[in-house]
């Protein structure tokens, strides 16, 4: 196994095997997570990108400042490529909310999987929710979106959190996207109150599900997975080709995770555009 790059938001400690997939192996230590991933998954704040993640079967790994070791390996990472998961405010100040809504909405509506929360942006998708669970889930998500429209953000978060399909429930992915958008709104509006809103949202949304809680924690801290970071830069640069390709990259995350996250991201801008809640928060 060779380490290709490492994230910049690790907490040192002894991590136990949490879950093992063909392209991702997750390890947890208290509430912290690290993910050993193959190159196809790419960089993230707590990702270790390796040449062959599927082979990793160590029950625990120890992360220290300069070394990552397990039962079968020990690698000096003091000179490893380090992924910078933060975004410099100067790089996104020119972001144009109208442009984001105009360009991202049609892409999502056209390409997101049927049972994703993109239904909140396009009513015609409601027809895809046919089983009793799906119908009830949809009802709840619409009510969450309505609470956001009414500026009842914490109530909205309580409605979204933990709901839906996947290892990271759809509602949690939506909140991750929302937190990403709030970071951008904080930077472009300069409204420091949004920092406390992000913290409140995180406190409300965190659960025992360490994977989605970790994703929300990173988003609340202004840390981005490489795919999301690339998307934000593409939106900032107004590069339609890059927006297109990054959108497709994000949509390949899980069955609905990428779509749910992008929907949360976009929906936050839609709400801001309509009501200016966040710039005045």
């Amino acid at each position: 196994m060779e380490i290709l790059s490492i994230g910049d938001f690790f907490t040192p400690g002894t991590y136990q095997l949490h879950s093992h997939f063909s392209k991702v192996v997750n390890y947890s230590c208290n509430k912290n997570l690290i993910s050993v991933v193959c190159s196809e998954i790419g960089n993230g704040p707590v990702n270790i990108v390796v040449s062959e993640s599927g082979n990793l079967s160590d029950e625990k790994i120890i992360i220290s400042k300069n070394k990552i070791s397990g039962d079968t390996f020990s690698i000096d990472v003091s000179n490893a490529n380090c992924y910078n998961s933060s975004i410099d405010a100067n790089d996104i100040r020119q972001i144009d909310i109208d442009f984001i809504i105009k360009n991202l909405s049609p892409l999502l509506i056209k390409n997101a999987s049927e049972l994703s929360l993109t239904v909140l942006l396009d009513d015609s998708r409601r027809i895809n929710f046919s089983s009793s669970f799906e119908k009830e889930f949809l009802r709840k998500m619409i009510s969450g979106a309505e609470k956001m429209n009414d500026a009842h953000f914490i109530e909205a978060i309580k409605t979204f959190a933990g709901c839906g399909f996947g290892l990271t429930p759809s509602g949690d992915d939506f909140i991750t996207g929302m937190l990403n958008a709030l970071f951008i709104l904080r930077e472009i509006s300069g409204n420091k109150n949004l920092d406390s809103l992000r913290n409140k949202i995180l406190q409300e949304a965190e659960s025992e599900n360490i994977i989605s809680s970790n994703a929300m924690k990173m988003a609340a801290n202004g840390r981005f997975h490489e795919r999301m970071k690339n998307m934000i830069f593409a939106l900032s640069e107004k590069d339609e080709n890059k927006i297109h390709s990054n959108c497709h990259q994000l949509l390949t995350m899980g069955e609905t995770s990428g779509a749910d996250m992008l929907t949360g991201f976009l929906y936050t801008f839609v709400v801001e555009n309509r009501f200016n809640y966040f710039s005045k928060y």
């Binding site: 062959e52 009793s132 839906g164 599900n209 297109h244 390709s245």
Partner: protein, 496 residues
């Protein structure tokens, strides 16, 4: 969600939900009548599998088969083979006799893996794209110094010692060698050659950038030399978009040294340099293949041009018959392509009949489609371009977007012709007819007079079987032509 879909396929199961055991999901399950007592003690990290079925036995059967249901999902998602080494070293250990490595990893890591392979003495085919041109140059210079081939990056097709690699067809073995900086160009030429009863010795892809100034045709020249030295190769075919002038001159100089007959098509390029070098220029992929076949059988090539003219006359008559059904409002052609070179060839053919057409990869920049998703007048769209493929399978594999577009175009009352390429072979969709037939039928139901013209790049030995696919497409109302050039000409005659 994928597991739920898999469970729902079971007979007698009316509904299922597979969700994490969060408090919120449990409340949804309760509201939808799916919560059972056993779920009460579960936590956020537990996976809840809820099944509504005709009886408990069905549910028990599903749980008994849960492992295989998971395996099905993994199989569907990963298409695993028998041997699936996780690293280059692992692959070498499992196959020490290998002399070629096919690299298909994320672009930014491909050069590193390719160099590992070269340093282990293997030829390399790089299927990955997004490799920097600097890395490509380094790899090719190193390979050339070691007498090795680097096919790619972004090399989609090759046939080496009879083994089809990546997107390639099952063609006859024979005495025609091909060097191509164009994937579907190589496929179309090799298939026509095989369908005409001749065969391929080697088909070496170089990746489209090889013939650009920065790379200088390093591998195109190396492959040309290799075919010259190959005893099984008696005729050499070159397929590419026009190389950079400097590269073209190098290729011409190399051709001059070769005693074997060389047929060349540089799609859209000038024939003058080719002729001066002593090679035989061709104007379409079909003509290239037919000339090569004649030469491979020791026949004269004088009649090929007149045979193609006769074929054009027959296509014209076919168009005249089809024109009887065309409404006066139907004036435009919409080409929806999966193969980039086929898309280029069609645009070139159309230029001679109806002028430049709009495209996401136009011959003339003034005809660039503003939005590749929105056709304008006569339009030819390459669905293999990045705007359609990033994050989703190539259109030769996944027909979803193109099928959507077929129906959309048929709904436009100004459209007279929809032109399609269907590329068969390994790597491509295994049942293209099942994908296309519903879309074609739907299009014909919307617009009964529309002409849906297809070419099929493939052979009867391909896993999809060209003849079977042809029968099914014709059964749906499509007109299937014997080559992309013929399909393009038929479309042009109708629109003209």
């Amino acid at each position: 969600m994928l597991l739920s879909k898999e469970i729902n396929k079971t007979e007698g199961v009316s509904e299922s939900s597979v969700v994490m055991g969060t408090r919120e999901n449990k409340s949804i399950l309760e509201a939808s009548g799916l919560l059972i007592k056993d779920f009460e003690a579960t936590s956020d990290n537990d996976l809840l599998i809820c099944i509504k079925a005709d009886n408990e036995k069905i549910i028990q059967n599903v749980f008994d088969n849960m492992d295989s249901l998971f395996k099905n999902i993994r199989h569907n998602k990963e298409d695993t083979g028998e041997i699936s080494p996780k690293s280059f070293d692992g692959a070498i250990q499992s196959m020490p006799e290998a002399n070629l490595s096919l690299i298909s990893v994320a672009g930014k890591y491909a050069a590193r893996e390719a160099m590992k392979a070269l340093k282990s003495g293997l030829h390399v085919m790089i299927f990955s794209d997004n490799v920097s041109i600097e890395d490509e140059l380094k790899l090719k210079q190193y390979a050339a110094s070691k007498g090795l081939l680097v096919m790619g990056p972004d090399c989609g097709t090759a046939i080496i010692n009879g083994a089809p690699l990546a997107f390639a067809n099952v063609v006859n073995r024979g005495n025609i060698g091909i060097v191509a900086a164009s994937g579907t160009g190589l496929q179309e030429v090799s298939c026509i050659i095989s369908n005409e009863g001749a065969g391929i010795s080697q088909a070496i892809g170089t990746g489209g950038r090889d013939v650009k100034k920065e790379i200088g045709g390093i591998m195109f020249l190396q492959a040309l030399q290799a075919l010259n030295e190959d005893k099984e190769t008696e005729v050499i075919v070159l397929v590419s978009k026009p190389p950079h002038e400097d590269v073209l001159n190098k290729i011409a100089a190399e051709i001059k040294k070769i005693k074997k007959p060389v047929v060349a098509i540089f799609i859209g390029g000038s024939a003058e340099v080719i002729e001066k070098s002593g090679a035989i220029p061709a104007s379409t992929l079909e003509e290239t293949a037919l000339i090569a076949v004649a030469l491979s059988k020791g026949k004269k090539i004088d009649n090929i041009k007149s045979d193609l003219q006769k074929s054009d006359e027959a296509i014209k008559r076919q168009a005249t018959a089809l024109l009887k059904n065309k409404k006066t409002t139907q004036i435009y052609l919409r080409g929806l392509f999966s193969g980039g070179t086929l898309c280029d060839e069609t645009q070139l053919i159309l230029k001679d009949y109806i002028g430049y057409v709009y495209s996401n990869g136009p011959l003339n920049k003034d005809f660039q489609l503003k939005d590749a998703w929105k056709s304008e007048k006569n339009s030819i769209v390459d669905f293999g371009e990045d705007e359609f493929t990033v994050g989703r399978p190539h259109p030769m594999i996944d027909y979803t977007l193109r099928n959507k577009k077929i129906v959309e175009e048929a709904s436009d009352p100004e459209v007279a012709v929809i032109l399609l390429d269907v590329v068969l072979g390994y790597g491509s969709n295994m049942n293209p007819a099942a994908e296309l037939v519903p879309a074609i039928k739907k299009a014909k139901a919307i617009s009964p007079d529309i002409a849906i013209i297809c070419s099929i790049t493939g052979t009867e030995n391909d896993p999809q079987n060209r003849a079977d696919v042809k029968t099914q497409l014709e059964g749906a109302g499509a007109i299937v032509m014997h080559s992309n050039a013929a399909a393009s000409k038929l479309a042009a005659f109708i629109i003209k």
